[in-house]
């Protein structure tokens, strides 16, 4: 029987948003849950995130943003993934996301859309379901 592959997650921040605590919190929680996690750090471009996701062969990109710009950011990352023909990578989003943003994001295929204070186990379960 084949040994089960660990879920691979890229946590990413695009643009100049400085709020990093959510991303760092998830980094540790995902690792504790037995996933392989890579964090891009701040100040990334959408193309850079897509390239890293492909190079690292991740299952999920977890985008974090606290500026309220997740719609713009997710759209740019999706576009970059399309160019790389890597749209099979799931995108999960979290941070400052309004209910209206969440609706639009769901429509784009971006799931989760969790706000600050979301129980971390809920997010871990979500990733596991996505990848299954």
């Amino acid at each position: 029987m084949k040994e089960e592959r660990k879920i691979r997650v890229l946590i990413a921040k695009v643009g100049c948003d400085i709020h990093e605590r959510g991303a760092l919190t998830l980094l540790h929680r995902f690792r504790d849950a037995g996933m392989e996690v890579i964090y891009t750090g701040r100040y990334q471009s959408p193309e850079g995130v897509a390239n890293a996701a492909v190079a690292e062969d991740v299952d999920v990109i977890a985008l974090s943003d606290h500026t309220g710009s997740m719609r713009i950011i997710a759209a740019a990352v999706l576009e970059a993934l399309e160019r790389l023909e890597a749209t099979d990578i799931h995108i999960l989003a979290g941070g400052l996301i309004s209910p209206e943003d969440a609706e639009v994001l769901e429509g784009m295929g971006v799931s989760g859309n969790y706000g600050p204070g979301t129980p971390l186990d809920l997010i871990v379960d979500h990733v596991r379901r996505l990848v299954k």
């Binding site: 100049c16 605590r21 750090g41 100040y43 710009s69 706000g115």
Partner: protein, 565 residues
């Protein structure tokens, strides 16, 4: 059949902690024995007397209330200007300026990395024209401005814009009041700010301070910041320790430039008002006491002014929750109260809707009104240091001092605060505490109402929903496109020769080790942007123009570099 009765848990909601937020273990009661070693004269002193544990002034708030402020920075200069006017009419006395996130990182709106966070968190204040719009009709004299940005490039640049505005309006620049955070450790530790590496940031920080000490004596060009390290994971001990260490290091740097701590004058720290009520009060008292001692014993202060620490506050944004946001009113009110009981000098209180978005107008009025209520209805500020003499508080103040001193010794043993930053040790300390707190929350050892305890059942009610709905929304794609167009047109419209000359002077001053402030003021007048000034200083150090290494050096800048070789 008997009706089933509900059971009642008498232990429901009981305390789960016996230590403060920063892990200082507490007994259930404190007595005179716990304060035996303290001497009133040496450790407390009357308000207005060294070491200022009880406050900086004899009459404290009767003489002058704390400054009421908050960062006002919406997406456009017009909205921001209108908001300032409204808040001033409601009692705001201290204007905190900020910029959008790309500007704070050192780049202009037409930079490709600006797009995704453009006009978020503030105005894209890329050049003088935007400042003119944002501050149009607002006073520049007899008002306090604070620059609360991230990157060290920002402080020197926006200070230069304020000086330029005053010079252009024919005003006396010696009357410029306020402060710049200008803390190079915070810029790297918390923000990993891309504008400058730390050795450049430290030099630019000192240039700003030196120029300001000589030309705008009422401006405090440096305010070590504990707020952001604390929000990023440091506890109260390491927050205060960090400020004291950075303050000491920069004052020692200034000595090498011939500026003594007496020349410099009063120090300002920007500290965090956290949720732990007594620990926060003790922190402010310990901060004043410790700086007074350092200034006198380590930096050789001879004047009273140089031993005085002014405390500017931002209440904890991290403590605010998006779940049941009405509860944030209780959190902020307690934090404001701790500031006033701790004798702070200026107060920027977070808003109840801040976990949801940028604060709304009404939420901010609530903050101002809370301070008015504490003053006029609760009568809290009538007496200086009203908790002074409390066995618990005096013990806690003294305990914090001991813990902070232990931390300072460790920082010193590791080569000082800048070495601790460069080696990554500060980040490790910050992360370790952050994880510890995170674990405590997950294990129910630290309860946050509405988040990991007392969540309640069902949907949130209409008041909470309303708060969630009012928060300010970020600018649309169309608005961002308009801004990019505007900055491009602005750049074309400038006198290119004058611009080149002024940028060349910044380049030369950078290379020759001269103070860059005056050249930046002159450049601001020719329309030089923040991104250009930052890039030219970087080139002066032989590193790429663009902090993100995405764009080419602009042709005009390339020319001036060539001409200077």
């Amino acid at each position: 059949m008997r009706e089933k009765t509900i059971s009642l848990d008498r232990k429901f909601g009981h305390m789960v902690r016996t230590a403060t937020q920063s892990h200082i273990d507490l007994k259930s009661c404190y007595t005179p024995k716990d304060c035996e070693q303290l001497s009133y004269e040496a450790d407390l002193g009357d308000p207005g007397e060294y070491p200022f544990t009880r406050g900086l002034y004899p009459d404290m708030y009767r003489d002058r209330l704390w400054l009421k402020s908050f960062i006002v920075s919406y997406s456009t200069p017009e909205e921001t200007n209108a908001a300032f006017r409204q808040y001033i009419a409601n009692g705001m006395t201290d204007l905190r300026l900020l910029a959008d996130l790309p500007t704070q990182s050192g780049i202009d709106p037409d930079h490709p990395s600006a797009w995704n966070s453009m006009m978020c968190g503030g105005v894209a204040t890329y050049a003088l024209n935007v400042y003119e719009k944002m501050l149009q009709g607002l006073p520049l004299e007899n008002v306090v401005y604070e620059l609360a940005h991230c990157g060290i490039s920002n402080f020197i640049y926006f200070y230069s814009l304020l000086v330029t505005l005053m010079e252009n309006r024919g005003l006396d620049v010696t009357q410029l009041r306020g402060n710049s955070i200008n803390d190079p450790v915070r810029a790297k530790l918390v923000y990993a700010c891309p504008d400058f590496p730390t050795h450049i940031a430290r030099r630019v920080c000192l240039d700003h301070i030196e120029y300001s000490v000589r030309h705008t004596p009422k401006w405090r060009p440096f305010a070590p910041n504990g707020v952001d390290p604390c929000q990023a994971g440091m506890d109260a001990v390491r927050e205060l320790g960090g400020c004291l260490a950075v303050g000491t290091a920069i004052c020692q740097d200034l000595l090498e430039r011939g500026i003594s701590v007496d020349d410099y004058g009063a120090m300002v720290f920007s500290l965090d008002a956290e949720s732990d009520f007594f620990e926060t009060i003790a922190k402010f008292r310990a901060a004043r006491k410790m700086w007074a001692k350092i200034a006198r014993e380590k930096l050789g202060a001879k004047t009273k002014r140089a031993t005085q620490l002014k405390i500017g506050i931002r209440t904890s944004g991290l403590s605010l929750q998006s779940q049941k946001p009405l509860n944030n009113a209780a959190r902020v009110t307690l934090q404001i109260l701790s500031c006033i009981l701790g004798g702070v000098n200026s107060l920027d209180a977070s808003s109840i809707d801040e976990a949801v978005g940028l604060p709304s107008y009404e939420a901010r009025l609530f903050n101002l009104d809370t301070q008015h209520i504490i003053t006029h209805e609760a009568n809290v500020p009538l007496v200086a240091d009203p908790l002074g003499g409390s066995y618990y508080l005096e013990w806690l103040t003294s305990k914090l001092e001991k813990e902070v001193n232990r931390y300072l010794d460790e920082v010193e043993a590791r080569g000082g605060i800048f070495a601790c930053l460069e080696s990554g040790w500060l980040n490790e300390v910050m992360e370790a505490n952050r994880l510890k707190v995170q674990r405590e929350k997950a294990e129910g050892k630290r309860l946050i109402v509405g988040v990991n305890a007392f969540q309640g059942e069902g949907e949130e009610g209409p008041i909470n929903k309303a708060i969630q709905d009012v928060a300010y929304k970020v600018p649309s794609v169309a608005l961002r496109e308009e801004r990019v167009r505007e900055v491009k047109e602005f750049k074309e419209s400038r006198n290119q020769q004058a611009l080149k000359r002024s940028l060349k002077e910044i380049y030369r001053a950078t290379k020759e080790g001269r103070n860059v402030t005056r050249p930046i003021i002159e450049a601001a007048k020719t329309g030089a942007t923040l991104g250009e000034v930052t890039g030219v200083i970087r080139l002066g150090y032989g590193i790429p123009y663009d902090p993100f290494e995405q764009i080419e050096t602009p042709a005009l800048v390339g020319q001036l570099v060539k001409e200077s070789e």
